[in-house]
Amino acid sequence: MKYSAFILAMAALPAAANTEINGMVEAKCVIQTDTSGVYGNPTADKLSTANTDGGVIPIVRYDVAIADYYLAKITHPTEFSSSPALSDTVTWTGETSVFQTSDAGMSAYDTNKIVYGSTSEFDLTIAGSTWFKTTSTASYGFGKAFPGGNYTAIVVAECIAK
């Protein structure tokens, strides 16, 4: 009888086992395209990503896991990666700035950015996500119309370990 009671008591005990889940947060940088850019064609000689020109401004998101490990360098286009044959020069302008942040302190990235040529450099001193927007405008010749066809240009987003 005692033996049977012991067996029943053992069967009633809940089974428990500990399973560990291990993880490690290491310095890393992830770049994602949040919004793909599109050129609008407001006038015959102009292609522009500005919303007011019918374009879409490309937005790139940088995620850094640990603060102060990486520099973000974003370069707006200075040539087309593909286009119809062009017989005249294209004048390029563009700008990169912070669009959205996961931490209020990241708003200082804009004031501290270094611009050289077509590249804007941001020191990613805070862990988290930063969204950067890059405007791009291409003007053709002197009052010349861009030939019909598809135009593509590339924004280069770099994340360089410091």
């Binding site: 290491e26 310095a27 890393k28 940088c29 992830v30 770049i31 994602q32 395209t33 793909s36 850019g37 599109v38 490309p58 790139v60 490990y69 990486y70 990666s81 593909s82 598809n150 593509t152 240009a153 590339i154 924004v155 280069v156 987003a157 770099e158 994340c159 360089i160 370990a161 410091k162």
Partner: protein, 108 residues
């Protein structure tokens, strides 16, 4: 790409060091990444790896080894992966991404 500051380890070949890296594709619009090694002035350094251009599906992770001659180790500074742009017009992205680890940095 991780780690940010990879360790240089001896390889199975005399005079050649090995770097163990891992690449994760977070971009749904890109499937191919090119591996490159540069010096401080962004001049290419010779290296060897299994695939210089790797195919990675979205959210896929791949580990890869990069082999650098010991005579080039002191010059090698940046180990980078660059997204490759597809020729297909329908899927051509507007953004090219490049992520670089430092071979001369502090060990992570």
């Amino acid at each position: 790409m991780t780690p940010a500051y990879p360790d240089l380890k001896p390889s199975h070949v005399d005079g050649v060091s090995k770097v163990e890296m891992s690449l994760f594709n977070s971009r749904s619009d890109v499937k191919y990444y090119q591996i490159e090694v540069f010096d401080e002035e962004w001049v290419n350094i010779p290296f060897s790896t299994t695939y210089r251009i790797m195919k990675l599906d979205h959210k896929e992770r791949k580990n890869f080894d990069v082999y650098i001659r010991n005579i080039d180790i002191d010059r090698a500074v940046y180990l980078c992966t660059t997204s490759k742009i597809s020729k297909s017009k329908s899927t051509r992205p507007f953004v090219a991404s490049k992520i670089c680890s430092r071979l001369d940095g502090p060990q992570a």
